[in-house]
Symmetry: C2
Subunit: 675 residues, 2 copies
Amino acid sequence: MIFKYRFGNPIPTDTVVKESEVREDAVPFVTVLEGESISYEMADADIVYGLGENVRGINKRGWTYCSKCSDQPHHQEDTHSLYGAHNFLVVSGKETFGLFLDYSGVVSFDVGYTTKNGLVITPADWNFDLYILTGESVPAIVKEFRGMVGRSYIAPKWAFGYGQSRWSYMTADEVRQVVKKHRENDLPLDSVYLDIDYMERYKDFTLNEEAFPNFEDFVRELAEENIHLVPIIDAGVKKEDGYSVYEEGMEKGYFCTKEDGSPFVAAVWPGHAMFTDFLNSEAREWFGNQYAFLLDKGIDGFWNDMNEPAIFYTEDRLKEAFEKLDGFKGKNLAMEDFWALLDVTGSLSGNEEDYKTFYHEMNGQRIRHDKVHNLYGYNMTRAAGEAFERLSPDKRILMFSRASCIGMHRYGGIWQGDNKSWWSHLLMNLQMSPALNMCGFLYTGADLGGFGSNTTEELLLRWLAFGIFSPLMRNHAARDTRRQEIYEFEDIPAFRSILKLRYRLLPYLYSEYMKAALDNEMYFMPLAFAYPDDPRAARVEDQLLVGESLMIAPVYQPNAGGRYVYLPESMRMFRLKRDGSLESSILEAGDHYVEIPADEMIFFLRKGHLLPMAEGGNSVPEVDFENLTVFAYPDDGEVSYEYYHDDGVGKDYDNPENRAVITVSGDVRGYEVTV
Amino acid sequence: MIFKYRFGNPIPTDTVVKESEVREDAVPFVTVLEGESISYEMADADIVYGLGENVRGINKRGWTYCSKCSDQPHHQEDTHSLYGAHNFLVVSGKETFGLFLDYSGVVSFDVGYTTKNGLVITPADWNFDLYILTGESVPAIVKEFRGMVGRSYIAPKWAFGYGQSRWSYMTADEVRQVVKKHRENDLPLDSVYLDIDYMERYKDFTLNEEAFPNFEDFVRELAEENIHLVPIIDAGVKKEDGYSVYEEGMEKGYFCTKEDGSPFVAAVWPGHAMFTDFLNSEAREWFGNQYAFLLDKGIDGFWNDMNEPAIFYTEDRLKEAFEKLDGFKGKNLAMEDFWALLDVTGSLSGNEEDYKTFYHEMNGQRIRHDKVHNLYGYNMTRAAGEAFERLSPDKRILMFSRASCIGMHRYGGIWQGDNKSWWSHLLMNLQMSPALNMCGFLYTGADLGGFGSNTTEELLLRWLAFGIFSPLMRNHAARDTRRQEIYEFEDIPAFRSILKLRYRLLPYLYSEYMKAALDNEMYFMPLAFAYPDDPRAARVEDQLLVGESLMIAPVYQPNAGGRYVYLPESMRMFRLKRDGSLESSILEAGDHYVEIPADEMIFFLRKGHLLPMAEGGNSVPEVDFENLTVFAYPDDGEVSYEYYHDDGVGKDYDNPENRAVITVSGDVRGYEVTV
């Protein structure tokens, strides 16, 4: 059941698509101190799920999180905000309920940090809708919430293949080389990503013609090898006379303005840049139409970046900084002075004050940016998503974003931002994924191997062994880091067998993804969602369910020869050997230590479930989604699996013919059957 | 066996105290490419132990470490250098041997990072002694190494009590309050630390008379409550006319100089400061004598800080920085320019070039600092340690340092630097401890609860549950972080029972510490050191042996209700309840999941071993070290324990009367006996 309450005059976020009536009675469960906070006293054993893209565990207790879209490359235990603003959580325990704050501003969630059992939510101002959701279980509450905010974005099937990225592949020849090396080494690949350097001096919707000559031909050439090129689009539009996007946006008044009405300019990758007013529906439409520049050249996938929006500096603040710096000259700086000096330059980027100096035109109202900060990246991606419906009505386009807010999940996925080549970020990838699913973000994944810092072969192997279950499966690394393409490492056979398993699992993974999107279900689930009566399952922070049939338990520590796995019930364990063969055995319910060398991996098939698998291939089109081998761990009696299958391109999602039921009778026990 | 080889003309480090003959034959095990690297091809299963104070696991494989004493507050997975330079490692596996580089300069250790199995050691220049050590086991090799570098520093017994610290307790009254709150809450305490603000404007060997009036009386007042005040001493000496330490050091020429012979000045806490030339034995003696200023006031413990040495900035570089900054004025800065601008200020502190601009006078030779960088903190602490032998010949003085190098372990302990309130740093604390023991650093500990960032009650509880086993047990937090004294939290009874357990364990912990120091043994050991034939034990990265009788398995993850424990053999598990009672049970060898609520903790007594315990107390002098209860898990037959016990103050360490043997016959099985 959904309980909706309104405080003040909320700025419309367009997050909720299913209307509920505003209630006037007391808000259930929580204590509302109007103008101050919304709070709840948790029991010791309560678990708090949700909050989407944030650091720390599946259970969010023990820290303070702040919904404020931030260009934050340091994903540390003490980080409060990442790129997304995801104000949905579920308290599970003494009382079980969901809570969603439909709000465009900054909000903090103290989840048992200040006091052990205090959950305290503090919005920056009191203009928002508060939703309380109840249901018979945590997944039921999530499903209710997901129904309220609308169907999640559906990616084309090819985007479930493996993608290789780097900041940046600088030329067409470098891209060709990446493809060639994968193909030569018998490593599957479906996409190569273009980071900022493919553009002409970081200008959106332009091409560096020298580095990427005859782009349309190049896109076609790659398409013939089943490779999709996926260019990046940045939020900032370069301020440069003669650059048509800039000139047209200026002429039409589609960029954000300062208080005095003059254009707001801030520096990002291209230097001085303009910020499209994505909250203005006309500007949104205009920006969305720009994607045609690349769609027309055969591009069918994009990633939107820098749309928190990131600001490196504003001219005003830089000027002020230079004045302040002059004040330090010639002094014997004691520590306080010295820190103050460092802070002058250190606070240039992402400065909160800058976000208070520009304005949007939204439904005829002029609104200061900080009031709607969390809607910015959302509406950039919405601009693209709405445009794709117009420009490509019959063909899905890949779209994922860095910044996000719930609501944006209908227009695109997200990647988990600029992580690092840290083992702890592999675990964070796992822990964040179900929280994102709760908030509607199904097409997600982290930069496998880690974006910043230098990876190691073992880390990349282990990360891929988790990443093959992620809808978005992309290896991405930053400039000046160690090369991270698989063929740069020693044990290519071990990588190959893991990558090929992804392609063998695709029928199942894609089917589960589609059902999760269409039926408002979870794709990645904490164990407790499926085993609510098992108190041990509730504490498991390093295993996940993937769809209805699989459980995974990745290795996320260096130099480990294996790991502990907790089984709430008996499961069939599969072991992938380095030669690509799969072995399996039945493990009883309970605790197990499983040896897992770095060149092997394991996963589990749940009792009473089926796993359809394909022969695999080196790209998605090579995978035969129709002739399947079904692995079974049937309970007593017969067991069936609802298999979703479509062409992966069109949008006839709800056609009942896309769903088939595979049934296996109960006399097979841990063996495969071909259907 | 010790194999010593000499390359070039090494600068004497005084690290090795037991001479070996220089050999001329080929270096065993490793490949030496003179002028380039020392390398070894590891087997897949080889484990590399050692390297002292570094990030990452007990097994150092999979990263590159650099011995270069660094003021590095970011202890991340991708950090290469912390505060210490500890060039000793042991390869265990296909071949087992120790390797030590006796060298004063920077050296990098690539331990299976660039290639999976390559161990590559690269010194900055080729003037060093290389030692290869062999023995019948890893602990035997460590013991041989420890014998070669001399007996570890021995702290006074009171320094095994709990210490409370903060940057900074600003007044005597604030210190009194800290003591009072502990005593009122029945929380044991033996020391309070004074961070930099107790001094008069950060001048070493001065007192802020306003904040700490009648200091001598204050020290005495606290001593009556069994509280020791432990002031900090910084490496930099404030440049200020009229300040006697500065003036005398200048007059005598005891400070480091620039190439032209003029004094080298760099800014640290007090602003412009001088750097005592600790490598000059006269200057070392002079600086050591300064500690008398505080010893004479009743102080009997110190911590040496900022002695990498940290440099905030040099005047020359700051001037250059301002010039560079001027060059950016008025420009439209594209990204590269902008990063360059940020780098101007970002590279002011700890700039490598600055370390090449000053000189030492060492044995009549003028040596540029970067050649002997890693000896600086070592010799600051040596200055203190040598002075204490002169000034306090009969009474031990507490001394621990931030920067260190092997050799310094004879003069003081170290704390594990400016860590953060991160769960991962609790695990790092555990993993680093045996590596430090290998290098001779026995009196060590991390800032419990974390120094930087904000702690949580659960993190502090779990960290203390590990920290009670650490010789140095100190709760320390940075300025501007959440108050971290135990009484600031909700569940004081849970903290109390953990803290009191420390005092009940003191007879054992102190005895094990003393035996480790006197017999060149490990205090904290990886499981593999004691169970070398157990391949599972070799991979355990989150359990340690503490002395000969105990094994610990701390909880180091948030919101965990328990953890997995691996037992190489049957052990007696003790569970501390929140009321302070101990329950125990026998666990069989193998894997166990153990429930451990945050207000409880567990530890294990090994089979065939004894655990002597005292009644406890709220300070070390209150603990009765003579009337003990001995817990036993006897194997068949009788079992004995060598109990080391002395007054904890004097230096008659080798008196055979300090060692008694406790014997329990085999008919008790998991029960206590009073001896």
